[in-house]
Amino acid sequence: MRKRLYAALALLLAFAVAAAACGTGNSAGTNGGQEPARADSQTGGSNAAASEPAAKAEPFTVSLRHIQIGEAQKFRKAILDDVVRKTEEEIPGLTFELDGVEDEVNRFTKLPAEMAAGNPPKIFDLFGGAGDALKYAKAGRLLDVTPIIEELGIKDKFLNLSQFTLDGKVYGLPIGGSTEGFFYNKVLFEQLGIKEPETWEELEQAAETLKQNGITPFAMGSKAAWVPLMMVNTLIGRYAGPEAIDGFSAGTHKWNDPEVVAAFAKYEEWVKKGYFTKGELGLEYAEMLNQFLMGKAGMMFDGSWRSSVFKDPEQAGELTGKVGFFAMPPVPGGKGDQTFVNGNYSNGYGFSADLNERELMADKAFIKNMYNEEMQLRGLLEDGVLPSMKLSDDALAKVEDPLVKKVMQIMSNAGGAFSHFDSTVPSDVYRETEAEIQKLISGMTTPQAMGDALQAVQDAANARE
């Protein structure tokens, strides 16, 4: 009797273990959950090829990775939602599977891993340039969208596709344009009798006045190094000239040229004077905005994409409509044309090269619905993001938001635009700039040593090409 009981217990235990093993097997498999889905849709695809009408209603999903999460991105998310809805209506059976991932996580962790494994989403948020779109395009992971935009007749509408173009083929489409410059708190400036800086002296004077009054001149959150690098990029554009940004990889400019080192030195000087938020190395990008919104800092160097926050009372509170924007003034003794501004057409959507016919149809409809005058204008009016496509003067005249107007005015008055070096240098060089800027901020390196360290990596990269 007892023996039988033991046997029964042992059997039960064995079942339990087996069941548990199955359980973990399943949960471990969620990551690869796209596999069966893809297999399904692939068989769906072959069906569609064989018998068009019958397969049309058959449901299929297309994964779509976006970065429009959080309060500050809500306008952009609304536009995406409308495009998704419209596209789903147009393609029978199509459901988009939206996957919102924070920008930095997507760009630097998730997407690279997926690209390596060969299972990126079908449509995904993508940055242009040497470290992102062009690298993936070279590896054959991205869909060449040239035929699609030619068919839709929008190829010539784009203002700048350079960061997505490899050997004449387009591998991604920028959703908007941006420039990086200073936002400032008009209320604080008025209280302290500071006027919008137009010259370098006025800018530094403004910073000094703010500092004297116990207010941080520049809000900063440099836990993620790309945030301080925005300002560094424009400082390089000013001190070493707009050509320097492209020049590092071309070999015409060096990171340890005296002019580039001067840009680092200016940054270091401001750090030493206490012009940036204290404890910045522990603060995220979002916290930089909070510092600025709470009135703890008078200025903030950020991209023009931030402007929609300042017209939204839910986010900006008392600062709604009381924020100004200006481009970095010319620096004394700076090389090259000092009227250039930073201009990026780098963030947009890319499409997986691994797809079937129906997914291609979905991609096409998505591009048609996302990249048109209506959505571009909505992006400009609702989200304050500069269009990446040419808009008619009538459309542009609809802009009422003073901040966006100012940004557009700065762009049109500029002698030209230089991009961000994150899209022009190879990723190992970019990685080094991230490490070095944080060292500079914490006082562990000097501007000259920083330039030398960066040039060493750049030399190795240039030799490799």
Partner: protein
Amino acid sequence: MRTALTSPVAYALFVLPTILLYGLFFLWPMLSSSFYAFTDWNGLEDYRFVGFDNFLRALRDERFHTAIVNNLAFIGFSVFVQIPLIVLMAMLISSVARLQRFYKTAVFVPSILSTSVIGILWGFLYEPEMGAINRLLGFFGIEPIYWLADPDWALLAVLITNAWQWMGFYIVLILAAILAVPRHLHEAAAIDGAGGLRRALSITLPLIRPVISVVVLLSIAGAMRVVDIVLVMTKGGPVGATEVMASYLVNKALGVDPNYGFGTAISLIIFAFALLLTSLYQLVFGHNRDEGIEYA
């Protein structure tokens, strides 16, 4: 049945499935991926053989040196700060008459929380301007400390959080050992006139030594592979101040400019370190096993 067990063939038959599975799911993947440590594979493009370059690069990188030192700091902190505290706490709880269960549960709670939750909670506590810790210090007139942003303080902040997370688990382990010490030993000692401290040092401590040695071993192993708390709280920053070997591996293998070849090389180095440390520990303290009561 009996005769079957004496035949080596039968043994082999029984052991073979396990060895096959072990080989298929552990040895083969490990060996086959070790191969990438000698390449510059980035996951996307074709790789080239680079020989021992990856290893040399890692061993020459200052940031990796910091990571090794920080791993040693984790080990040092857990062995020389955490464990004495753990033993002390366990002894205190063991001699409490009322609410012992409550204390046991209370100290154990942190170890059932997820590391991400703990990292974020302590992030609030360490917040420089509004965080509880700085407010408390401010009460005594101490200037705010930028815990997670200051390279001088960040490691300590992470160490404290990590200790808080794991101490409860070990306290419960040691507590069980203390409660298993036969009561009559204490009674006899008390009759001989031994006070509380004397009994703790001469009876409890020697008798729970085997468990302490297990806890030390677990702490060392835990400190060698610590990474989650670092990634959640600081991502290895500021400026590499809290980088440990495993977070260095994550930051280099993934992220901007991923390099799986380099990552594999680092993981082999970590493996070598762990092997070295545990065998060192076995050599020095291994003989403990023969003495005392076997609890683990």
